[in-house]
Amino acid sequence: MNDMDELLRRDGAQWRATATSVPRVDWAALPGRRDARRFASSWLMVTVAGATAAVVVVLAVLAPSWIGRGATGHKPLPAPAHQPTPGGVQTGPASFVALTDAGITLVNARTGDSYGGSVTESGRHATTLAGSNDGNLAYATFTHPKCEVAVDRQRWMTPYNAEGTQAATISGAKADGIAVSPDGHLLAISVVPCGKNTSVDDLVVVNLDTHQQRRWTGYPDVSFLSALQWAPDNETLSYVVNPCCGGGTDNPRLLDTSAPGTSYVKPKPLAVDVSRIGSGLVLWYGGQFAVVQGTEIHALSKAGVVGAVLAKGLPADVVSVDTDSTGLHLLLVTSQNRLFRYDAGTLTPLPRNWIDASW
């Protein structure tokens, strides 16, 4: 995955080296006279604001340490808080499922060693993954070229041997994210419908016993869902709505999937604005609703009030969190696709990078 980052950086730099033409602009086509008068009166304000912005930029370049990041705006990667101890972590789940280039594998969660062996058909690549919290099952989504999401269920007979069956299909969509309920009966999948000129995510909940599907739809404009997680009650789903590109701010929502209705934006946004917090992740930690705030996990009331610190010492650039059935053992993936486990205050880096991982 770091290779992909490097590949894109190289390709981008090469492309920018060839794309150096400033566009031809017809400046005379811009104004009407009414516009010009209004602009002339507001120009002083814009100039002052621009000068202020310029001073801020200069300060940011000259003294990056003042604001805790480099001149490019990237936060420095955190140093691992702990190195793996010989024998590995001795608490929490013993294994997790992980997505690799070759497929899905079971991983020893004490040592980070893969048990090896892909359990997906060759030529198909899973895009998202959710484990059943007990190391026995994994659900992975595949998007077919004809735009159909297939959800495969992998059951491990031994750590080295799994059997696959198809759990569900969702037609006319591409998969974005997946979460399995703690009791293992429900799958929540955020999907992008194909064929529409939109990137709005729909939310689909699949009952794995009856194979019935319920679908929630959302905003008419660009937005998407992230950080899908089930609450311990197996009915409430938390997620973050990201009104990307169209204004507004990220905000977490709670959806009661047992209630009637098909609009996932019907629940009111919580008062907390997670875009200010920075990481934009909500989770269920130790059975309660919580939010990642920098390197800490804080309690979050259902009214959106950020409360006490529940846990400390997380990496600073976490982009996804997966909690086990107790809600106290976390798998954390950073923006550089580095994987950590977090157990009651102990952060342990796991030795390999995985595309995705789940208890």
Binding site: G12, T18, L30, R37, S42, T249
Partner: protein, 165 residues
């Protein structure tokens, strides 16, 4: 000052204000539409920026992020009108070594598998060259959201790249 002279003066100020960001605007327009359509999209974006310039608030973001957000919006509308589902080929084949051409074409094809927001994040960060913070300002979402979107995009690109190559 006459009205015409006032126009010219105001446009001159606006031009001076926009000029440092024209290249970034053109790059984003090229990435999200095509080299042929880029000038038109930038022109449309500038007309819109001119008309909405009073809504610009420096406390909410830089001029560049405001202008690039308008370009991204114009690109979306342009593709809708022109029924161009995906941006056209972007590589300057004549000036690039053959292996680079192949690699870039593969990446281009793989990027067609990304969702719109993932593509926008990748284009802004890797191809226009914005930092995560700057890309977040353009996309009007948090830095964390941009990071996770980029992470998801890289995850999706890897198998797609293997398939197309």
């Amino acid at each position: 000052m006459t009205a015409d002279a006032g126009d010219a003066h105001a446009v001159g100020d606006f031009r001076e204000w926009v000029q440092p960001h024209l290249l970034a605007m053109a790059r984003l327009a090229t990435r999200l539409t095509s080299a042929d359509d880029s000038d038109d999209v930038v022109q449309e974006a500038l007309v819109r920026a001119w008309r909405r310039r009073e809504s610009y608030d420096a406390s909410r973001g830089s001029a560049q992020s405001w202008l690039l957000a308008i370009v991204a919006d114009r690109c979306r509308r342009h593709r809708t009108r022109a029924r161009h589902p995906e941006p056209a080929e972007l590589l300057d084949i004549a000036s690039a070594p053959a292996s680079d051409v192949d690699r870039s074409l593969d990446i281009e094809r793989a990027m067609s598998r990304l969702s719109r927001r993932q593509r926008l994040a990748v284009e802004l960060h890797y191809y226009v060259g914005l930092s995560v913070a700057e890309a977040a300002a353009v996309m009007r979402c948090s830095e964390g959201t941009v990071k996770s979107t980029l992470s998801d995009a890289r995850k999706r690109l890897l198998p797609a790249l293997q398939e197309v190559s």
